[in-house]
């Protein structure tokens, strides 16, 4: 591509087309540009356009295209072709800084980004003159240019803040310091002087303050890894000026905007960060300056307003004080009673106040409010910072701080008492203060677990919390109501049980409050109280204690779901689930109504599932309803099926993907309740469950396998009789699962159920093929997990069909196959089998092979008899081998097909473990002894001689123990 007018023209046309809203115009243009970008001079054509085009739109478009081109192509990847020619690279580096600095801001930003991308690859080795070129511009006196340089430098250096120390990194920093530190310092001083000269010129000040902010950011990056010698030597200059800027206020720079932070706030906020960096990492060197900064930052806090625009500054400033006050050698800075009082009064209390922004959120954006207030996403808020400062101060001054705040709490409560309507916010602050003062440790599961002993929580509850909860009008002062509910919720582990019991009916009443926050908190508090454990690990609050208010609880919870904005309120649904779980059979009388409401809800949400937690708890609640009711009366299962199947059918027909795993689990639960026959309604669905599309989704596999297992258990005969044409499809599912390293165990679950429950004659034609598939997988990619499942299956087959059948089918596939499997798989690997049921199956299966398989006695397999017995005794007596070969650690990753709906297991749809052998064999060791005895009587003399020739002494000893316990002798 030549650098000529014709090409510039063409490029201009295509760039213009990339801006076209019509994708049929836009896409081909984008494709064309991508197809030519490998040509030499392409980037230079873009640079020419962004500099010289007459059309501003084209200039910006060229700049953006250029930056994206650099982003995609600049990095040279080993073993891949260099995507940008060397002459182009050289030309770009030679011109870009100049171009960036002389361009208007929109283009400057793009080029600045491009420089930092190039810098990341080439700087410093392959771009040695970049820094000097930039530094020279400091002397230009043009702050448009200077800010361009500073911004570029910032994007180049900011990685010093998070990268690990390395010689390479530090060499680069050293080089940067050598060229950059002194000019930066000079620029800093000069800029501050200019601020004084132009103190009355707003426009000049704005530019200068953005420079200062960038300089302060650069300072942070350059000082992050370690304290550079240069900055240690010039600490006086920097810190004195930073301090000066912290205390500076210029009316001209104050903004009217309430939300957006102004230049002054941004600069001061960065200075707080810089001071915090030095205080944390370079304490020894910074010590002489620290007290000054503490005072300045404290004064700053006292004089800063409540507007949202100051939030970041205030929270940074408070966090600075919080980190300093807990260091032992700065203790003295805070020790004085007056200082402590002022900090409490002027810094902490004002920042704990409920602001109008909080009030707006409470009313109009309750989700956000709840997330901040309840779930702890309040990291950068003032309240959180103030709380951290309280905690920091309590490290050394718990007594005095508690005393000071107690005074405040009392006076704020008194204010409230005088005129509640005007002063309710004082009470809110008082409650917040008590909470932050009292809470020393907290978890989601238990609430506050350690409290400040100097705060009387019970008394506060009785005098100030309970009255609000008891007030007849639940809709009055909703914020205070929410505070009171939250108090009960978070201090639940600290309050005596009788007070909690006193609170429960009141909380139930608050479920009817119109305020979303309030009724959500009530639901959440109830849910948390119901999970509390008492002695004996039972629930603290019992179903009996709840009896008087059971009906109201259930009523109010469902009514709360009717409030606008709470239709899919996960807290309420979780409280429903938890109430069911607590109340157990007490809910049975209400089930007919409840199930109607739940299915109605399910039908609604299935139209557009959007709240995963809500939906999950909804299904859990359904499971609980089924379990609790059918436990008392299994016959009621049909009424649930009547209620649920229409909705389930709709969900299946509409393929509501999120819900399918849940539906399969509930269906399994229902089917498992049936006693030994399968209703026709289920059979009608059976062919649909085999559809490949369902099995392509990972999240469906576990619940579908379980459902098919339930089908087989209850309806093996029925399937063989009336749906025999579906057996290949069923086995096809097995084949599909077995091919995957991630899902093969699920395939075995299914296969085991097939072998266990299907009539043998229905499978005859498929048996050989099943084994061939297993052997192929064994040959192709065997993993420990596969082998373990394979061993369990082989032994189950042996138990079910007999040892002779097993040997014959193996040997029919390939001569001597049976011996090979015993020798290469069973004997060496059986020790790895885990799980009590699995172990029992293997023990019984191997016992059968040893004692009921003539080929083991009379053919060349005889040489395997003793080793197999020895392996079985080892299997009984030695610890399980849980080692995993090194090459298998990453299997899961290899088979993960990317993100898909994860399997959402329902806790209350749990399945009991199935033992196919059951009571038929009590103790497998005794079975072995008895079976050997039987064998030895059938062919006297052979067994003892085989034992004495090659069984090792230790194993023999164990075996004798079994024989004794079974009171049999070998002959």
């Amino acid at each position: 591509m030549e650098l000529n007018d014709a090409n510039l023209q063409t490029l201009t046309q295509f760039l213009r087309k990339t801006l076209d809203p019509d994708p049929t115009v836009r896409r081909p243009a984008e494709k064309f540009l991508e197809s030519v970008e490998g040509n030499q001079n392409y980037p230079l054509l873009l640079l020419t356009l962004l500099e010289k085009s007459q059309d501003n739109v084209i200039r910006v478009c060229a700049a953006v295209t250029f930056k994206n081109y650099i982003k995609r192509n600049w990095r040279i990847v080993e073993d891949e072709p260099n995507k940008i020619s060397d002459p182009d690279r050289t030309a770009i580096k030679a011109n870009i800084v100049n171009l960036m600095l002389s361009s208007p801001e929109q283009i400057q930003k793009q080029l600045s980004d491009a420089i930092s991308i190039i810098g990341r690859e080439d700087f410093p080795q392959k771009w040695p003159d970049l820094l000097t070129e930039m530094v020279t511009r400091f002397r230009s006196g043009d702050f448009h240019i200077i800010n361009g340089v500073l911004r570029t430098a910032h994007s180049l250096f900011k990685r010093y803040r998070h990268e690990f120390k390395s010689n390479e990194l530090w060499s680069e920093i050293k080089l940067v310091l050598d060229t950059f530190a002194l000019p930066l310092t000079e620029l800093f001083k000069a800029t501050i002087e200019l601020c004084q000269t132009h103190a009355t010129d707003v426009n000049a000040l704005k530019v200068l303050f953005s420079s200062l902010t960038l300089i302060a950011k650069l300072f942070y990056s350059l000082n992050f890894q370690d304290l550079p010698e240069f900055f240690e030597d010039h600490m006086e200059t920097w810190m004195t000026n930073f301090h000066g800027l912290l205390t500076l206020d210029n009316k001209l720079l104050q903004t009217d905007d309430e939300e957006e932070a102004g230049l002054l706030e941004l600069l001061k906020s960065q200075i707080c960060d810089n001071a915090a960096l030095y205080a944390q990492k370079y304490d020894e060197e910074f010590q002489p300056y620290l007290p000054r900064f503490v005072t300045a930052i404290w004064n700053l806090l006292v004089s800063t307003g409540q507007e949202v625009k100051y939030d970041l500054l205030v929270s940074n400033a408070i966090q600075f004080l919080a980190s300093v006050c807990e260091r032992p050698h700065y203790k003295h800075l805070f020790e004085d009673q007056n200082t402590l009082t002022s900090i409490c009064e002027k810094v902490i209390v004002p920042n704990m106040e409920f602001r109008s922004a909080d009030e707006e959120a409470f009313e109009d954006n309750s989700e956000e409010y709840i997330r901040r207030d309840l779930e702890g996403s309040d990291i950068d808020t003032r309240r959180r910072a103030a709380c951290d400062l309280v905690r920091g101060l309590c490290k050394f001054f718990e007594g005095p701080v508690t005393a000071i705040f107690s005074g405040y709490v009392n006076s704020m409560l008194a204010e409230y008492a005088k005129t509640p309507r005007e002063n309710w916010k004082h009470k809110d602050a008082a409650i917040y203060l008590v909470t932050s003062l009292a809470s020393k440790a907290q978890t989601q599961k238990h609430g506050i677990t350690q409290a400040n002993e100097l705060v009387n929580l019970t008394e506060f509850f009785v005098n100030h919390i309970l009255p609000d909860l008891k007030s007849p009008n639940v809709n009055e002062f909703p914020v205070l109501k929410a505070d009171a509910i939250k108090y009960v919720m978070i201090f639940r582990s600290q309050l005596p049980k009788e007070q909690l019991l006193q609170a429960v009916p009141l909380l139930i009443t608050h479920l009817q409050a119109e305020s979303t926050v309030e009724h959500t908190y009530a639901a959440h508090a109830l849910e948390r109280l119901f999970t509390m454990r008492g002695p004996n690990n039972t629930t603290l609050i019992t179903a009996a204690e709840m009896a008087p208010c059971t009906e109201q609880l259930l009523n109010n919870l469902f009514k709360a779901l009717a409030f606008p904005g709470s239709a899919e309120n996960e807290y309420i649904m979780k409280a429903i689930m938890r109430s069911f779980s607590l109340l157990q059979e007490s809910i049975v009388p209400y089930i007919p109504t409840l199930i109607g409401q739940l299915t109605h809800k399910l039908l609604q949400v299935s139209k557009n599932p959007s709240k995963p937690h809500f939906n999950h708890y909804l299904f859990e609640s359904l499971c609980l309803s089924v379990r609790i009711t059918c436990k008392a009366n299994p016959a009621t299962v049909s009424s649930f099926e009547e209620a649920l199947f229409p909705v389930f059918t709709e969900i299946l027909q509409n393929d509501v993907q999120e819900f399918l795993p849940y539906v399969f689990q509930v269906m399994s639960l229902l089917l498992e309740i049936h006693s030994n026959s399968i209703p026709a309604s289920y059979m009608a669905l059976f062919p649909h469950l085999l559809q490949p599309v369902l099995w392509e989704r990972t999240g469906n596999i576990p619940p579908l396998v379980r459902l098919l297992q339930a089908y087989l258990e209850k309806g093996g005969e029925t399937i063989a009789r009336s749906a025999a044409d579906k057996i290949p499809g069923l086995l096809g599912v097995f084949q599909k699962l077995i091919a995957s390293k991630a899902n093969d165990h699920q395939g075995f679950y299914l296969l085991n159920s097939i072998i266990e429950h299907m009539p043998p004659e229905s499978l005859i034609q498929y048996r050989k093929q099943i084994f061939i598939l297993l052997f192929q997988r064994l040959q192709g990619s065997k993993t420990t997990k596969f082998i373990k499942s394979f061993l369990v299956f082989v032994n189950l087959y042996c138990v079910k069909y007999g040892a002779i059948a097993l040997q014959e089918i193996f040997d029919s596939i390939q001569p001597k196959m049976f011996g090979m499997v015993l020798e290469k798989i069973v004997i060496p690997e059986v020790q790895k089998v885990s799980g009590p049921v699995e172990k029992k199956i293997c023990a019984v299966g191997i016992t059968k092979i040893l004692t009921e398989c003539p080929a083991m006695m009379d053919t060349e397999y005889t040489k395997l008899w003793t080793p197999l017995l020895q392996a079985l005794i080892g299997f009984f007596e030695l610890p399980e081998d849980d080692s995993i070969p090194d090459d298998e650690h990453f299997i899961d990753i290899e088979d993960t097909p990317g993100y898909q709906t994860a399997f959402s297991q329902l806790a209350f749809a749990g399945k009991k473990e199935h033992d196919p052998i059951g009571d038929a064999v009590g103790n497998p060791k005794i079975l072995l002894a008895q079976s050997l005895h039987k064998l030895s009587t059938a062919c006297p003399g052979r067994v003892p001689s085989m034992l004495s020739t090659s069984l090792n002494a230790e194993a023999l000893q164990f075996l004798q123990g079994y024989l004794q316990a079974a009171t049999v002798q070998l002959v």
Binding site: R161, E229, P328, L690, Q691, P692, Y766, P897
Partner: protein, 520 residues
């Protein structure tokens, strides 16, 4: 100069590397880039105006003695004239004037003297045994030049001063011999190259022969300092044969009581032990470890510091080498040093502890039994940043080698709370090391079946919030590590196909037509 810095390569420098990759012992690393100022209390590389202990009363020195006030006014030109004259007296006068000029504190005219070509004169004066005053003045002048920059030292060496100084060591005049000791110390201190030039010229036997019960203490001080410079610098280390030659005398010197001798002898040991396990072994074999441990409690900071550093180096060696320090009682001394008012001592002590914590669980048990956990937690909470960093390594090392019970003791001592608080430090590496420790502690909890209890404890201590916040960290590895912990220990688990021929309705159950024989 031995660096006090711990670098990123720490992980690849475990002392037990190869034996157990989980062990995190670490050596000092020399060649790393520094941003900081050279450390302040590092002992000086070269010295100019040290006092000669054996300098006789000046007037009594010789009949040629010229009082100070008469020589100080000589200009460089006069000096050049004097030194180049044939008259011994003028030469002495010139030489002395030059020496005085070179001894001045501010901007001694090193370059001017060299440029005037006087070095060859001075060197030739060194061999004039019959002119002791001239010999002495020349030696002093050359010493001062050699104390300059490397270039200055190079000029002195290239003029052939080394053999001349070495033969001066055996001068019967003690102050001349001592001046030679001093000059050679400055040359040795320049770096590994000149150090080895000196060793090649057999400086060591010549020096050691001056040590006798009668040697004045002042002389011994300078001699010890020179020996320490001969032990100094890595890449390469001083030759093993030279080390073997010096060690018996150093051991001897370490049993004296003079604090300056002890200080330099300890520094010498600290240089010799600052290397791989073979180097450490040579030091350990001398049996000096108990004495070094004893000197860690010396009241002089100048002795305590290098003694601590030497022991720190030794415990970065093999388990057996560490054992000798433990047997010598290092674990009884460390708690006191960890509470020392000076931050640099705390840091060095924490570093030593981090290496002991990287040992086998038997040594970890000794560490716990000797009560090292409380001071460790104290440092995690209250130390300065560099000390906290070492203390964090100690915790992580301990958690990777300790038994389950030992980890429980660590947690109960308050270390978990302390490291969780440190998750807010502004250092990506330290954060990653802490996250490692948290993982290790979870593995111990898993064995005890107390995972849930630990998760709750971490949440109570405010750790969960901090770990969650780290999922926004700009450092990819920190983000990943934090994310993994959250996924693994603080959330519910998740679960997860392949192509099998299928129709719309069901999969086809079939086996491939071609079949090879099975062979497992």
């Amino acid at each position: 100069m031995p660096t006090k810095n711990v670098t990123d390569e720490r992980l690849s420098k475990f002392k037990n590397k190869g034996k157990d990759p989980a062990k995190l012992r670490e050596k000092r690393i020399t060649e790393c880039v520094e941003l900081r100022k050279a450390h302040k209390n590092e002992n000086f590389l070269k010295r100019r105006n040290i006092t000669l202990s054996s300098l006789p009363d000046e007037e009594a020195l010789s009949p040629d003695y010229i009082p100070n006030e008469l020589v100080t006014h000589l200009s460089i030109e006069d000096i050049i004239k004097d030194v180049n004259s044939d008259c011994r007296k003028s030469q002495t006068r010139g030489c002395q004037a030059a020496r005085k000029l070179l001894s001045q504190e501010r901007n001694p005219p090193l370059k001017e003297i060299i440029d005037a070509g006087l070095l060859s004169n001075f060197v030739s004066f060194l061999s004039m045994d019959d002119e002791p005053t001239l010999q002495f003045e020349a030696a002093w002048a050359l010493t001062n030049i050699a104390s300059g920059t490397s270039w200055h030292t190079q000029q002195v060496v290239e003029h052939g001063a080394v053999p001349a100084f070495i033969s001066l060591l055996s001068s019967p005049m003690l102050h001349i011999s001592e001046q030679a000791v001093w000059a050679l110390g400055n040359i040795a201190g320049d770096g590994a190259t000149y150090r080895d030039v000196l060793i090649e010229c057999n400086v060591i036997p010549a020096l050691l022969s001056r040590i006798s019960p009668d040697t004045p203490v002042g002389y011994l001080r300078n001699l010890t300092w020179t020996l320490s410079n001969l032990c100094r610098n890595k890449n390469p280390f001083p030759p093993l044969s030279a080390v073997q030659q010096m060690l018996p005398s150093l051991v001897q010197l370490l049993h004296l009581s003079d604090k300056d001798i002890l200080s330099d002898a300890c520094w010498a040991i600290s240089y010799l032990s600052d290397g791989d396990n073979d180097r450490i072994e040579i030091v350990v074999k001398t049996g000096i470890v108990p004495r070094l441990v004893e000197l860690m409690s010396h009241q002089e900071l100048g002795v305590m510091t290098p003694a601590l550093r030497s022991i720190g180096n030794i415990v970065s060696g093999s388990d057996l080498q560490t054992e000798t320090a433990i047997d010598a009682g290092v674990l009884n001394v460390l708690p006191k040093l960890m509470r020392h008012p000076k931050a640099s001592i705390q840091k060095e002590a924490a570093w030593a502890l981090s290496n002991i914590a990287a040992g086998p669980c038997k040594q970890i048990q000794q560490l716990i039994t000797c009560g090292l956990l409380p001071p460790l937690v104290h440092l995690l909470r209250n130390g300065d940043f560099k000390t906290q960093r070492e203390a964090v390594w100690a915790v992580t090392n301990l958690t990777s080698g300790a038994t389950v019970e030992q980890v429980v003791q660590l947690v109960q001592s308050g270390a978990l709370e302390a490291i969780l608080n440190l998750l807010q430090v502004k250092d990506a590496k330290v954060i990653l090391v802490i996250l490692d420790a948290i993982n290790n502690i979870f593995m111990a909890a898993e064995k005890l079946g107390e995972m849930e209890k630990l998760s709750l404890l971490i949440e109570e201590l405010g750790g969960l919030d901090r770990i969650e916040m780290l999922q926004n960290h700009d450092n990819e590895m920190v983000y990943q590590a934090a994310h993994n912990i959250i996924e693994k220990y603080f959330s519910d688990s998740d679960t997860h196909g392949e192509k099998v021929d299928a129709t719309e309705d069901e999969f086809a159950f079939q086996s491939p037509d071609v079949q090879k024989a099975f062979e497992f």
